[in-house]
Symmetry: C2
Amino acid sequence: MSLPHAILTALLEKPSSGLELTRRFDKSIGFFWSATHQQIYRELGRLEQSGLIRSCPQPPSRGQRKEYEVLPAGRTALADWIADPQDPKPVREPMVLRIRAAAAVGGRGLAEELGRHLELHVRQLAEYLEIERHDFPAERLAAGGERLALQHRVLRAGIGMEEYWVEWLRGTLAVLGD
Amino acid sequence: MSLPHAILTALLEKPSSGLELTRRFDKSIGFFWSATHQQIYRELGRLEQSGLIRSCPQPPSRGQRKEYEVLPAGRTALADWIADPQDPKPVREPMVLRIRAAAAVGGRGLAEELGRHLELHVRQLAEYLEIERHDFPAERLAAGGERLALQHRVLRAGIGMEEYWVEWLRGTLAVLGD
DNA sequence: AGCTACATGTAAAGGGTTACATGATTTT
DNA sequence: AAAATCATGTAACCCTTTACATGTAGCT
């Protein structure tokens, strides 16, 4: 049940049309919650039906831009969801699965894949660090309040995740390279 | 397309019935690829249909135990899958999403959730470290070959993941506790 | 008038989750 | 004989993914 709340958050940050939301999911929001435009349009319909958001008054026809904004009920629903107990989702890591399979049938061709993934994660890490340098310099963090600090924690989650993968992939490549 | 290959790997390690597989997915395999018994039975049927596994000769009736083993075609399919290029899946981290939502509408009640998750991850990390101490002592790792080293990398993935969460949750709690 | 980009949507297929159903075996 | 447990399976629902369809606006 995270997608509707991801959309509510995005709309609170800035009222948007479906396509604008899709673009933002491809960028910053997508760093920790991805979604396609089909998912987003469907969910926008449901959220409007439930009275959590509304589209601005003009009644647009099919190919027309439709801007949504969050209603008070939507803000309340989001605040409730934040504090709601939810267990961490069970893990599903295909790459780790491949290593276990390689332990069973041999790892021919796996090193290339590990190297390719390593490069992808190195690149993503560099992108995150660049954002951090640009948006969260030390003096701004010292001056800013909790809101800024939380936004920084979101970015830090991405940085830690990529560092984790980079280190793990390097270590695993070292084993295969023996 | 990971579940069938997870099952092939598990069956190569040891031929099993559906329920036995389910138990192993609840334990070691489930640390990085979870699956319910319904998924497993469905997939066993498909794998048998495709000629990648077979159930042992006795034709069992409904409530009867049915043991599966991997056929040569299944082993080949698994080896192919290991080297097949697959991009990392887009990330979906509900907890990070909640932090971003908290930055927008305030984090009331979130600290409890963060603390609860922290405890869960601390416990999981301790479990992994205990397995490492028991199954991968330094002298065994030095003597063992690539197979053992790869199995260790699988466990190391779990350890690194939990360490990452523990550190991130502690840092985020520190922000909220200000 | 045709082309391209923008914008919203529909359809179908597959995986995952939850709840339930049924047969066989063991225990009391 | 009844109950509990083991074991396999069905059904319905939701989410995600992929491919396709349709309408609008601006430009040449």
